[in-house]
């Protein structure tokens, strides 16, 4: 009774939610709920509707228990090196007014650890041994081994689901259930409706226990094409473009007085990935690229500074290795090697590649040095980077065939290893453990599609992950070793340009969850436009 009275009082104190934000995103969000969300738009929606136990703090340090801020859990403590205890916020409730309890957390983490149901999360949570509830508000997570990122693993990967709803759905049909069509979360915004292929609407959750959101309505529009997205903004239809293509479009939106570009640093790293195996055949080594000298020659031939500047302008920096500049293990003293065309040429000659027939393309035993580079066509800056690579390798006698593919086709082609080179972009987790997926032998069945496998890297990564002392020097050694082997030419780290209408105030954008703070934004009443006037009940 007392709790109810307090919250009613609090709600009376807060102004009602009003105003709208219309966001345009490039793709449909089919499965916008935790454990199923994969693509960015799905993650965005999941983050708006569901909370985590705790979220990453401003330093993005994933090691230890200290760099985190409370969300569903108001506090936590450690019983020993293998046991973490979370105390849930008693005010937290699901959007159907059921309280969030420890049973929801136990249910969700247990479900996510099922390797049959959810292999991806089961791998991420492989060291979580057991999750138990002590009363309604205390969750105990037991780990099978001691390591630095226990807290991160327990909180970051999975947002708790409402057990009282999801447990009634047959285990393997969550993706087709009504819960996906009408999700019920614990977060600041609740689901309203979906127009398939066009839009998704969310509304403020007036009972959100951390405070009623200021902005009442979120409309998410889908427009795949960067040009179409930009036009929607220029015409005044949308208030926010999640990612403005840095290639050509940023100046156009920046010149409009009603818009402001917010640079958001990201964990994305773009690289020219080499296939270590033959085209589409992992049983044989690649006839050209399995030789590290050829890979080093390509690295030396590319002027990465020019490429990044030309394609990304101020929104990209040359990558120093497989990790983004945001990462807490970054070694700022490591500098990218400058280009050196004559060294590149010399390396290729040493391996036997020379231009015997004088057609401008190197050859060896009658085979021309031709490489097929696949890339996704929807992203103009990646197409531009592909053209720049093609042009920069031409003078040293490497012929690059550009193969632009639609997103899903490109992803499948990567999965089948049907490429010589690939223009990849890893949107990494904030943790350096993500390196495991892309650059170790174990990752070859998953996202390590280049098939790079070096036992030195593997043992260093294992050492760094389970280091008792400071893991930082070990992680930096991992980075140096990978760079030395050139499994890819690491090209850029990306700063995302988010375009926002100027009437939004109190704007803050979190790199790991762009819309995570949206509920705290508000609208300057003096600049409100027609679609802001409607009150949200």
């Amino acid at each position: 009774m007392l709790v109810f009275g307090t919250s009613a009082y609090l709600h009376a104190q807060r102004p009602p939610s009003r105003g709208t934000i219309v966001i345009v995103v490039p793709g449909e969000a089919r499965l916008p709920i935790p454990t199923l969300a994969r693509v960015r738009a799905e993650q965005d929606l999941s983050d708006l509707m569901f909370l985590r136990l705790a979220r990453l703090g401003p330093t993005f340090t994933t090691a230890g228990d200290q760099g985190f801020l409370p969300e569903l859990a108001r506090s936590w403590s450690r019983r020993d090196s293998l046991t973490l205890v979370f105390e849930l916020d008693p005010r937290a409730e699901w959007q159907d007014s059921t309280p969030v309890t420890s049973h929801d957390v136990v249910f969700t983490l247990t479900r996510a650890r099922d390797p049959v149901l959810d292999p991806a999360h089961a791998l991420l949570l492989q060291y979580v041994d057991r999750v138990t509830a002590e009363g309604d508000h205390r969750v105990v997570v037991h780990f099978s081994r001691a390591y630095a990122e226990q807290f991160y693993d327990a909180t970051y990967h999975v947002q708790p689901l409402p057990a009282h709803i999801v447990s009634r759905i047959p285990r393997d049909s969550l993706a087709t259930s009504n819960f996906v069509k009408q999700p019920i979360g614990s977060g600041p915004y609740r689901w309203v409706r979906r127009e398939p292929g066009r839009s998704i609407e969310l509304a403020a959750n007036p009972r959100f226990f951390l405070g009623r959101p200021h902005i009442g309505r979120i409309l998410i529009l889908i427009a795949r094409d960067p040009e179409a997205q930009l036009n929607l903004a220029l015409e005044g239809t949308v208030d926010a473009i999640e990612s403005v293509s840095p290639y050509g479009n940023i100046p156009r939106i920046a010149e409009r007085p009603e818009f402001k570009i917010h640079p958001v640093r990201t964990f994305a790293v773009g690289y020219l990935l080499f296939n270590q195996h033959a085209y589409g055949d992992t049983t044989k080594p690649h006839p050209i690229l399995s030789d590290v000298r050829v890979r080093r020659a390509i690295l030396a031939a590319l002027d990465r500074t020019a490429i990044v500047k030309s394609a990304l302008g101020a929104y990209g920096e040359v990558a120093e290795g497989p990790i983004p500049r945001m990462s807490w293990i970054r070694d700022s003293t490591a500098k990218p090697t400058p280009p050196n065309a004559s060294a590149a040429k010399a390396l290729l000659t040493a391996v036997g590649w020379t231009d015997h027939d004088g057609d401008g393309v190197l050859d060896r035993d009658g085979v021309p040095l031709t490489l097929r580079l696949i890339l996704p066509s929807v992203s103009p800056y990646r197409v531009a980077i592909g053209l720049l690579i093609q042009e920069q390798l031409r003078p040293i006698g490497i012929k690059v065939d550009l193969i632009q593919l639609d997103g899903p086709v490109w992803a499948d082609r990567r999965g089948r290893r049907e490429f010589d080179m690939d223009l990849s972009q890893g949107n990494l987790d904030p943790t350096p453990s993500g390196l495991v997926q892309s650059w170790t032998c174990a990752g070859q069945t998953g996202s390590n599609v280049g098939g790079f496998c070096d036992s030195r890297v593997d043992s260093l990564v294992a050492k760094a992950r389970f280091a008792r002392a400071d893991p930082l020097p070990l992680w930096r050694q991992v980075i140096r070793t990978i760079n030395d082997d050139v499994p890819a030419v690491f090209l850029y780290t990306l700063t995302n340009a988010m375009a926002l209408h100027r009437r939004y105030t109190n704007v803050s954008i979190r790199p790991e969850s762009w819309w995570g703070n949206l509920w705290q934004w508000s609208i300057d009443p003096a600049q409100a436009i027609a679609r802001d006037r409607a009150l949200t009940p």
């Binding site: 179409a228 639609d406 899903p408 086709v409 499948d412």
Partner: protein, 324 residues
Amino acid sequence: MIGWLIRRGLQAVLTFAAAIVILFFLMRVTPGDPLMRMTEDRQISVAEMARLKHRFGLDQPLALQFITFTSAAIRGDLGVSIYRYPDRVLDLIVARLPASLLLGGTVLLLNFTIGVWLGVLQAARRGQFIDRWLTRLSLSGYAMPSFWLALVLVYFLSTRWRLLPSAQMTDPLLDPSAPFAVRTFDLLRHLLMPAFTLAIVTIAATMQYQRTAMLEVLRLDFVLAARARGLTESQVRWRHAWRNALFPVLTLFGLWLPILVSGSVFVERIFNWPGLGSLAWEAINGRDYPLLLGTSMIVTLLVILGGVCTDLGYWLLDPRVRRP
């Protein structure tokens, strides 16, 4: 009447059947296993592959394959999309048909009204300044790639002058429960640019046909008689000559349709118009062979039906055709 209809209908069915044969063999004659091509870009398990193989009857001899393929097609089973697996090709096409018919219908309407009017005007001013320049302008339109014209129109009308929306079929923010008039106006605004793009690149044919037909009619006796009765030139033109000059233009209907559907692949893609053209574009982009084949079949069917409609119109309007 019935006899004629049956004959014409049979002819159309035969043409369509032959077109299906051609499309089928286009897919088979080209090098490589069709299913390999259909699946090479999508990860499909061995079991799934075997199931698909069985479903498409690829273990059977070619003749039997063809029968399986056509009998499925006749039952309306155009297979399953690769790109949007497991959506059915026919469902995807049916969902896109209305938008395409709206756009195509508008273009035909523009062609028929503006094109016929300009053609009559040209015939009346044969050899004069306006006739010569209208011919040149329409031929310039005919020489334009529709995608380029669309981009130029977007640049001026949307980007520079902000007069019309640059893409989509409706305003995404428009409340679906808005009054009918508001929604119609919104739709018209979005329809204007794609429809005019396609009309500009196709109108030359209409104008030329109308002009020629009109010139021939103006020489005929009854026109001379009408003039002799003292009717004004515009009365002669619009009451008598025009109606008789209309038939030849009807034959154009069959000629327009293929140009229209091809043009719509480009125009719908640029304007994000949710019709068959953009579906074909998605199929190309996703290397979705079944979807592209299905779209091609439907488009072919539309063209053939267009031809039948033309003949029917001709038959109803012009008694001379009725004689065997």
